[in-house]
C-alpha cells in the first residue's frame, strides 16, 4: 500500500496530463461538430504544454532568473538551484504559436460554414457526396 502511495504521489502530475490528453483525443475523434474538434485540439495542446512545464521542475529550486544586483559579486551559479529553463522556452513559443494556429483553424471553420452552412461532419460528408454525383 505504501509503495502504491509513493508511486501515486510521484507520478500524479503525469496522470493528470494523460487524462487531459485523453479528453482532447476523445473530442477530436468522437465529436461530430468541427468547433468541438477544434476545442478538443486545444485541450490536447494544453496537456502537452503542461507536461513540458512540469518536466522543468526541480525540488528546492527557484525560477530561472539568476540572482543579480550591483553589489553582489559573481558567485558560482549552480544548476541545481534554478529550475530547467529549456521546457519554458519551448512552451513559451508553443503557446503563442498555438494561438496563431487556432486562429487559422477558426478561419477555416468560418470558411466552411459560409460555403456549406453547417459545421456538422456527417452533414458535410453528405453534401460532398451529393456534389460528386
Amino acid at each position: 500500500m505504501d509503495e502504491l502511495l509513493t508511486i501515486l504521489i510521484s507520478r500524479i502530475n503525469y496522470w493528470v496530463y494523460i487524462i487531459l490528453m485523453m479528453v482532447g483525443m476523445y473530442g477530436i475523434i468522437i465529436k461530430k461538430n468541427l468547433m468541438k474538434k477544434i476545442i478538443g485540439m486545444s485541450i490536447l495542446q494544453t496537456s502537452v504544454i503542461l507536461f513540458y512545464v512540469s518536466i522543468g521542475a526541480k525540488k528546492n529550486a527557484t525560477i530561472p532568473i539568476i540572482e543579480h544586483g550591483h553589489d553582489t559579486g559573481h558567485a558560482a551559479v549552480q544548476a541545481t538551484h534554478y529550475i530547467n529553463p529549456l521546457p519554458h522556452v519551448l512552451m513559451l513559443t508553443a503557446i503563442v504559436v498555438a494561438v496563431a494556429t487556432l486562429g487559422v483553424a477558426l478561419a477555416l471553420a468560418i470558411k466552411i460554414y459560409k460555403q456549406y452552412n453547417t459545421l456538422e461532419e456527417d452533414e458535410l460528408i453528405e453534401i460532398l457526396k451529393e456534389k460528386e454525383f
Binding site: N13, Y14, W15, K58, I65, T80, V96
Partner: protein, 276 residues
Amino acid sequence: MKAIGVILVGFLGGLLIYCSMDFPPWGDPHSPASSHVSPYYIEHTLEDTSVPNIVTSVLADYRGYDTMFETVVIFTAGIACIFLLRVFKAVEPETRLYRHLPTGITLRIAQGGKFPDDSDQFKRIDSDWVPHDIILQTTCRMIIPFIQIFALYVIAHGHHSPGGGFQGGVIFGASIILFAIAFDLRSAIKRMGERLTAFLCALGVLIYAGVGLVCMLYGNNFLDYSALADILGVDRISARSHGILMVEIGVGLAVMAVMVVLYYNLASAGKHDEGL
C-alpha cells in the same frame, strides 16, 4: 463508431499511464531533461550573454534559429488568415443604424435614404443594436494606456524579470482587441488600419532576420550578436544582450500585429465592417 473511439482513447491512456512508471519522479533534479544541455545554459548565461533571465537568453541567443522560425510560423498564420477570410468587395448593409449622440435615439436608415456623415452628432453603430455603454468605454479609455505601457515594460525588461517579446506582444495586441470590443471594429481599424498591421507583421520578422544578417555581414555566424559590438560601442558580452533586446522588439511587433490581424478577420468574417 463511438465505442471504437472510446476503446482507442482508453487504450492510449492506459499505455501512457503504464509508461509513466518509467518517467522521473516530479521535481527530480537529475532527470534526463535537466542533465544534458540545461545545466550549461544555467551556469554560463551570465558570462556568455550577461542576461540574468536564462529563459530570455536561451530563447533569443542559444536557440535563436528556433525562435526566428517560430516567429515566421506566427507571421504565416496571420497571412494565411488574411488570405482565407478577407473579402475585398465591400458589401454595404442595406440598412444602417445611427445613434444621435445628444439624445441617444437610434435611427434606422433604409436603403436609398441619406446617410449622415460621421460627426459629433451622429455615430454609426453595428446592425446588432448595442447599448450606449459609457461606463465600459470610459473605463477602457483609461485602462488601455496602462496596459500598453505594461506591455512595453514586459518587452523591455525581459532581460531581468519574466517577460520578453512574445508575452509583451500578446499583451499589446490584447489592449487593441479590448479597444475593438469596447468601442467597435470600425473605430479600431480607423486607429490601427489593415495596412499598418500587415506592415508590422512583416517588419517584426524582418527586424529579427535583419539583426542576424548584420551579424553575418560583420563576419560572424548568423544571429551571433557579439558582432554588433563594433556598431554599438560596447564589449562583446553586452553586445549579445543588446542583440537579444533588438530581436525581442521584432518578435513583439510581429506577435502584436498578428493577434490584431486574427481578431479583425475572425470577428468580422473578413469583411472588416462590424465586429463583436
